[in-house]
Symmetry: C2
Subunit: 448 residues, 2 copies
């Protein structure tokens, strides 16, 4: 049960944290090409390239994107008063709700922006890969908004297990196929032919790339893990900061779940800005699943960001691109690594990280649902659980911090996970140290 | 993609159309009891009894209910500008969006109110029957809001086919079982023992009644088809009228889907009031599915409202309580009859009715979804289709009426229906004249 807060304007600029970093980001390293991939050119709209390397502190949001943002932004900032009372905490808990758009998650911030830039770059059709479907949905909505055709390669297991996600993309006019799709054109690029049979996110992206390369007017949108995706998502934090400020408040702790980084960076970076400028000392805390603990158990090394073999290697916290995430429900948090900007911030102790097992996360999600009336996505539930832990800690310590967290999406497409939890059939899985070591052994060899 | 309109206050009173009717409502007729049912007393909170027979024009909404209404009301009134442009119609199309609460539909208006009155009457636990699950969800939320235990008997077929609906009730803390539940206590009351095996809505309500009778502190909430449910739903129309008025507009046509009548009555009656007082001539148009065409193909006769055999017979437009609704997706529009107030208004030509087949309705729903960014419930899609027809008619006639319709709920639990439609597997079913005649033959014999 939600109400929008209309007390602030939707932002006119995104915030680019690179301008304020007290260190240099490690440079990307071009991968050596194979005979199959040596002639392939990755086409990225010039504006997105510029945004990836820009050192401007603010980057203007194009007017067309701003108009579309206005259809659901500013998103609500809500005080979770019932939860506070139930926890008997002296802390104030605020959440920023990003589930109030048709794609259902924060990813629409970059879905709309990317579709705009690709259209401007001459594309008439976009292809992409999606895992659980949140990104595919966001891009499908973006494409429909700018009259682009959209083809989504959805990881086969999700395609079959999450028919609702598939349907919502189709309702937006997207052509959705399971990956591996069986299309001949798509098999040449891939690094490891064995994976053709099973299908995973990297393979879906590779199929989408091969499709784009072989169809005139088509371009690949890599996904929501890129630096410009974090940039586009900062609309969230900029709004939240202003909304809190209108209430006469500032955050003491900011909490968000961490997949590749666009959700966490989206809310945390505009607030971290004040820390970097020396005027504040807000704790920025990322929450990852115990099943995929890249910050808390990974290494800070160069690794591949996808399976195409042609994108540059980046220095990131990673579990290795061969890491097989154990069974878990928060599909958006499965990525093997953390984007280079967030990784560097963690490496320099400017942000925090914690990992929780999924059953404790779902327990908190049900409590939150009953008290606050929102079904959180499993990804967002990680932030809820993190916020509850901080609120309980504040109670123990007799402090009353302002806790802000991002409720990054609704969970109405994920009710089967809740059903599994309620029926007592949900288990926790964590990789063993040996699992992680095995995967890290296969990291590309790079001279640093 | 929705924004709330906060330009009006949530209403303080419900509107009771009975005060303004230019005719007397036909009296209810008590059913002769069988040996099994002769000692059963239906327990209904006194306040709900009063509301059922009241002739007051306005009935005050209790403060506790008003406070809870405020968590999602006033609901948004949205102008469907993209749809208007796409249709190239000179009409203005407004919709009232009732899907912005955790139950997902307008039924929470009465779910919250009923839980309040039952609690006040001493209940510590409510039982109810639900078909597709909308009503069960609304009552589950109501019970949780007032700390009542809640037991929902859900028609077995829906229990299995709509696991998401079941899960959302469980997440609200309700105990949900499929009906027939197999519990011994529940079999004695039922009129037709054959139906024990298959299960339907009437049997689910009967099970819920038997459960309530045999458990201290438990009471049955019959559902959302009662006169007081229509009363509680008038919050919708009262708000919509005021919201339009703030925009300097009045509606020329009001359109809503018709199940038993609470959705249609909820939005239409507060607007029909001006017609009854002679100051306006707004067309109030109900839309029913071709598969269950009670107003357009039923008869105005006395019939049973449920299968318990103990509630009074009411004069209504009905297809007969033995009517078997053909296969269709809008579960909320399956009811065999139309509530007595709405039926009487139709009988006196004060409202209109039309029926559409489901495939045309889903086609309009997809168009609306793509243009306006909301997934409508299949029930609500009937109103959308009706509104589109009126907008096209206005274009043909060169008129520019204000069309208001009720988007009574979201369809995020109904995506399997959309999938069926998109894959071309959806069919239309209408009863034959013989089907209807067969069912009407079994109507109770009543001297009028």
């Amino acid at each position: 049960m939600l109400k929008n807060v209309h007390d602030v304007e939707a932002p006119t600029h995104w915030y680019n944290v690179v301008a304020d970093l007290p260190f240099e980001l490690p440079k990307d390293i071009v991968q050596p090409r194979t005979p199959e991939t040596q002639n392939i050119k990755l086409q990225l709209p010039l504006e997105l390239v510029r945004q990836s390397i820009s050192r401007d502190q603010y980057i203007e949001i194009p007017e067309e994107v701003r108009q579309l943002y206005k259809s659901w932004r500013p998103t609500p900032l809500v005080r979770a008063k019932n939860l506070e009372n139930w926890l008997k905490t002296p802390a104030k808990i605020y959440y920023k709700y990003e589930g109030n758009n048709i794609s259902g998650s924060h990813k629409l911030c970059t879905g709309i922006a990317q579709a705009y830039y690709y259209k401007k770059a001459g594309a008439v059709r976009l292809t992409t890969g999606t895992g659980a479907g949140q990104w595919g949905t966001a891009l499908a909505v973006g494409c429909r908004s700018f009259d682009l055709d959209c083809k989504v390669y959805m990881v086969g297991a999700s395609y079959n297990q999450k028919p609702y996600r598939r349907t919502i993309m189709q309702m937006q006019g997207a052509d959705v196929v399971p990956s591996p799709s069986g299309a001949k054109q798509n098999s040449g690029l891939f690094l490891d032919q064995k994976k053709v049979d099973t299908g995973n996110m990297a393979f879906a992206v590779t199929e989408a790339l091969a499709d784009a390369l072989s169809n005139e007017g088509s371009m690949l949108s890599v996904g929501s893990g890129e630096a410009y995706s974090i940039l586009h998502s900062t609309a969230i934090g900029i709004e939240a900061k202003e909304q809190l400020s209108k209430l006469g408040e500032t955050p003491d702790i900011v909490i968000a779940s961490l997949g590749a980084g666009s959700n966490f960076g989206g809310i945390a970076l505009p607030i971290l800005k004040d820390n970097l400028e020396g005027s504040k000392d807000v704790r920025c805390r990322s929450v990852e699943p115990s099943a995929c603990p890249k910050l808390t158990r990974g290494v800070y090394r160069y690794d591949r960001t996808d399976g195409s073999g042609i994108t540059p290697l980046q220095k990131m916290y990673t579990l290795g691109n061969n890491f097989r995430t154990p069974n878990m429900h928060a599909g958006g948090l499965r990525y093997h690594a953390c984007s280079k900007i967030i990784s560097a911030l963690y490496h320099h102790n400017l942000i925090e990280a914690v990992a929780y097992p999924q059953t404790t996360v779902f327990k908190s999600a049900i409590i939150f649902h009953q008290l606050e009336g929102v079904v959180p996505a499993p990804e967002s539930a990680h932030a809820i659980h993190g916020a509850i832990q901080e609120a309980l800690k504040a109670k123990e310590e007799g402090k009353s911090p302002n806790i802000l967290f991002c409720l990054s999406g609704h969970g109405l497409y994920d009710l089967s996970a809740y059903e599994q939890f309620l029926s007592g059939k949900m288990n926790d899985y964590s990789p063993t140290d040996a699992d992680i070591a095995d995967s890290l052994e296969k990291l590309p060899l790079v001279e640093e």
